[in-house]
């Protein structure tokens, strides 16, 4: 089974990289771009067929390593 994990900064946490990206896009002729938030996308291959079990294990992985819950949120998506 494949899993997709998105790690994003929590609301209220300043994202200077996202801001720099936004400014660059504005300068490049995309004035419609407002707030930009940058995050991480992680793809994992799992040797697990039970979706509920996989989800629980992924939660644990996110809390232990993939996300820093002081500043980041995570979302988990299971594919196939």
């Amino acid at each position: 089974m494949k899993a997709r994990v998105h790690v994003t900064l929590k609301n209220g946490v300043l994202d200077p990289q996202g801001k720099a990206i936004g400014h660059s896009l504005n300068r490049l002729g995309f004035p419609e771009v407002g707030d930009v938030r940058q995050g991480k996308y992680i793809e994992l291959e799992l040797a697990e067929t039970d979706k509920a079990k996989a989800k629980a294990r992924l939660e644990d992985m996110c809390k232990k390593l993939l996300a820093n819950t002081v500043i980041e949120n995570y979302s988990i998506e299971l594919v196939g």
């Binding site: 946490v13 993939l66 002081v70």
Partner: protein, 233 residues
């Protein structure tokens, strides 16, 4: 005082801090490899600066899960003093030994410069050689030193006196504009270093180990090592 300095793949200040410790104790610290789950009993554990595991995922995230850090967490819980410098500070927040986290500098640039720090308290085994309010000059070298914690944690840190050092002007003013002048990285409340609740664990971004010899830019960092020797010998 018997000290151990941890070494991770990508550490690069372990030699500097070992040198500073040897300078004040006359005794070379034990170097402990990250894969070692156990090591000899020591009075102080130092987590040095560098780029452990290439800063993959987040600075310090991988190192925080290494076998040696599981042992460090155990010993810290027993009251063994732990000092984390720069990447060591990042590793310790990731390991949950210290509150908050270190984010990318607000101006997005690597900063390598001498900075001034205000010593917030002399009441700790790390800072007893300094006076509260004293200003010291030490270098910083980092791209992720922007201290962040949620409002509740920040209040706790202030209330319990867990802030060890703040970035300040040479005169000791800590109200400079964020990301500029006195604050080199955008840190919340100008925080450069924090203690755990019992003040037996200290993490700081600046490098006191690089300010111990007059030939290399001053000796203001030496007091930290001398203070620890006094407290732990």
């Amino acid at each position: 005082m018997k000290a151990a300095v941890l070494v991770f793949p990508g550490s690069n200040r372990e030699g500097d801090v070992a040198q500073a410790i040897e300078l004040v104790t006359g005794r070379r610290p034990t170097m402990v490899w990250h894969g070692d789950g156990d090591f000899e009993k020591v009075d102080l554990i130092v987590v040095p600066g560098g780029f452990s595991y290439g800063d993959y995922l987040r600075c310090g995230a991988m190192a925080a899960q290494s076998p040696v850090m599981a042992e460090v967490k155990k010993r810290a819980a027993q009251g063994v003093p732990v000092l984390g410098i720069c990447n060591g500070f990042q590793i310790m927040t990731e390991a949950g030994l210290l509150p908050g986290t270190l984010m990318r500098n607000s101006h997005l640039k690597f900063v390598c410069a001498d900075v001034h720090l205000k010593v917030e308290t002399s009441q700790s085994l790390f800072t007893n050689r300094y006076q509260a309010g004293q200003v010291i000059k030490v270098p910083v070298a980092h791209a992720e030193g922007n201290y962040f914690a949620d409002a509740e944690t920040m209040k706790k840190l202030e209330d319990r006196g867990q802030i060890a050092f703040r970035y300040c002007s040479p005169e000791g003013a800590v109200d400079g504009p964020l990301g500029k002048g006195a604050n080199p990285n955008g840190s919340s409340s100008n925080i450069a270093g924090v203690f755990n609740e019992t003040k037996t664990v200290l993490g700081l971004m600046p490098h006191p180990e690089n300010a111990v010899e007059p030939m290399f830019g001053g000796t203001d960092g030496k007091g930290l090592f001398e203070g620890m020797v006094e407290a732990l010998s």
